[in-house]
């Protein structure tokens, strides 16, 4: 039988990778719209997206738990379509993570799109490039660093979440038992040795990931030389 902590690691990685991919797909158009719109509703949407930054995870978890239960519409629809209960499932913790990590993906992308502005897109249009062409051949390569930042922050934040998963996922091995919850279990059982292993791995892993982001986002060598030469 597989080591329960290793299983928790696999569940965590599966959740985090899936969440990050979903977030990049949802986050790109959302960040694009927020960067380009001048609508009055912009601030409201921005506030909603930023909410998980300040809200206790248990508050979001509590409302999601209610929404995911079979008594309420989202939970009912899910059960009718998939035949399974949504609350306390792997799907539930992925949906919860998507909402919870949303600001970490949308905000860097929105900032990058705002900084890019319209000039290069207009130049692309004048050379015959349509909207998708412009996105893949102008926007994406130029904002690559922001995409790496967004993906890494979204991933790391998802790995580290606890409260929301406990509320909507519980502690089902192989389904919703992720590393942070396994760690909590060990501490509750006074098994500090195992707790240390998990804690130090999470700490080292997060540190390495963040260091990698900062390394990748360092200004280009060529542009540094240019500044020095001036």
């Amino acid at each position: 039988m597989i080591n329960p902590d290793l299983l928790a690691l696999l569940t965590t990685l599966k959740m985090a990778v899936l969440t990050t991919v979903i977030l990049l797909f949802i986050g790109t158009p959302l960040a694009w719209i927020l960067a380009k719109t001048q609508s009055r509703f912009k601030v409201i949407i921005e506030a909603i997206i930023a909410l998980p930054l300040v809200l206790p995870p248990t508050v979001l978890g509590f409302y999601l738990l209610i929404a995911f239960s079979p008594q309420y519409l989202p939970g009912q629809i899910w059960q009718q379509v998939t035949g399974k209960q949504l609350a306390f499932s792997f799907s539930a913790i992925v949906i919860g993570s998507v909402l919870y990590s949303m600001p970490f993906v949308v905000q860097p992308l929105q900032k990058a799109f705002e900084q890019l502005g319209d000039p290069l897109l207009e130049a692309g249009a004048m050379l015959g490039a349509g909207p998708m062409d412009r996105f893949f051949h102008i926007v994406l390569p130029i904002t690559k660093a922001s995409y790496i930042t967004a993906a890494s922050l979204g991933f790391a934040h998802t790995v580290g979440e606890f409260g929301i998963i406990l509320m909507i996922g519980g502690n089902i091995p192989g389904e919703t038992r992720v590393l942070s919850i396994a760690l909590f279990d060990h501490v509750e059982a006074f098994d500090y040795a195992k707790a240390h292993v998990l804690a130090i791995s999470l700490l080292a892993g997060s540190l390495l990931l963040l260091a990698a982001i900062y390394l990748l986002n360092r200004p280009h060598k060529r542009s540094i030389n240019k500044v020095v030469n001036k």
Binding site: L120, A123, G124, M126, L127, I138, P141, R222, S223
Partner: protein
Amino acid sequence: MNLPSLITHSSLPLCVNVQLNYEQFTLAISQKFDLQGITGVFGHSGSGKSTLLRVIAGLEKQVSGNITLNNKVLADSHTKQFIKAEQRHIGLVFQDARLFPHLTVLANLQFAVKRCQHARLELNEIIQLTELDTLLDKHVDELSGGQKQRVALARAILTEPRLLLLDEPLSALDRQAKTRLLKLMATIQTELQIPMLYVSHSLDELQQVCDKLLVLAQGEVVGYGGIHEMIHQLNYLTTTSQTEEIIHQQTSLSLPIKHLDNGYGLTVLSLNDDEEIYLPVIAKQTTAQSLRCFILARDISISLMEPIHSSIVNHLLAKITTITTQKNMALVTALCTKHGEAQEFFVNISAFSQQKLALSVGQKIYLQFKAGAVRTYLY
């Protein structure tokens, strides 16, 4: 070089009938163009010249009215038609070049080639024409302002546009780079025959390469016509309006070259068949048959007797047609006529001199100006 001409018909009809309202600014233009050669668009900042280009390009969407190019509707707010910028086959060179910073020079050019459906132009020939051979592997941030604009120009041409729009492409360049790019624009025009609309706030630049000129002020058309005729009209506008005094009153000319070098370092142009105008030698060798030049009104003086005992080489007999006085200055217009041909000259003198010489309309006078007063940009 043998480049295929991109335009088969002689002129490209463009009809602009648009209105655009911003908070502080309104553009209201109703003008028909027969685009051929280079058409200049002149106006002070805020006159709406760049906005006009953006409207034609399809980058301004909130426009009421209609635009047709070669009898094809580009936009019509009434029938809700709007062809997107990327489908208009119109090229635009921006003031700030707007090269893609993640690509090399060559990749910037290939970006255009890949999206061009006809691809009649050879990439290598355009690279040679725009003298980019040595810059192809460079990154955009390693280029000078002039080099950036040459890449932007080459990139725009490579889309093989039906119409090329140029939005102040020279404004950030030094004089040498300006001259080089102006020459290049003129060469591209003769080699490829792409009609161009060239926006600038510098009349000197426009005078050198444009065939026709559209003058805008406060979002409206002030005039449209042949380049020399329009520049001469602007001479009167500066005396009557109190606007910014950027326009130098001048005589704008295109004259046939008689001798490239008369042996004394002077080039001789011919005026009205047998009159001659001297200027410092323009180039050792040129294939040009005629020369575009201008003489500032303040560089010409008036003499009542023929100045034969003078070092000033140019003197012409002329008849005063108008005198406009403003403050202490007088703008005198005089006509040189010979063999049924006539050339108008504009002269600035002080009101004091005008009084002293007792000048009046219809009077015969001699215009005189040094060889160095005959100016040209391209050589």
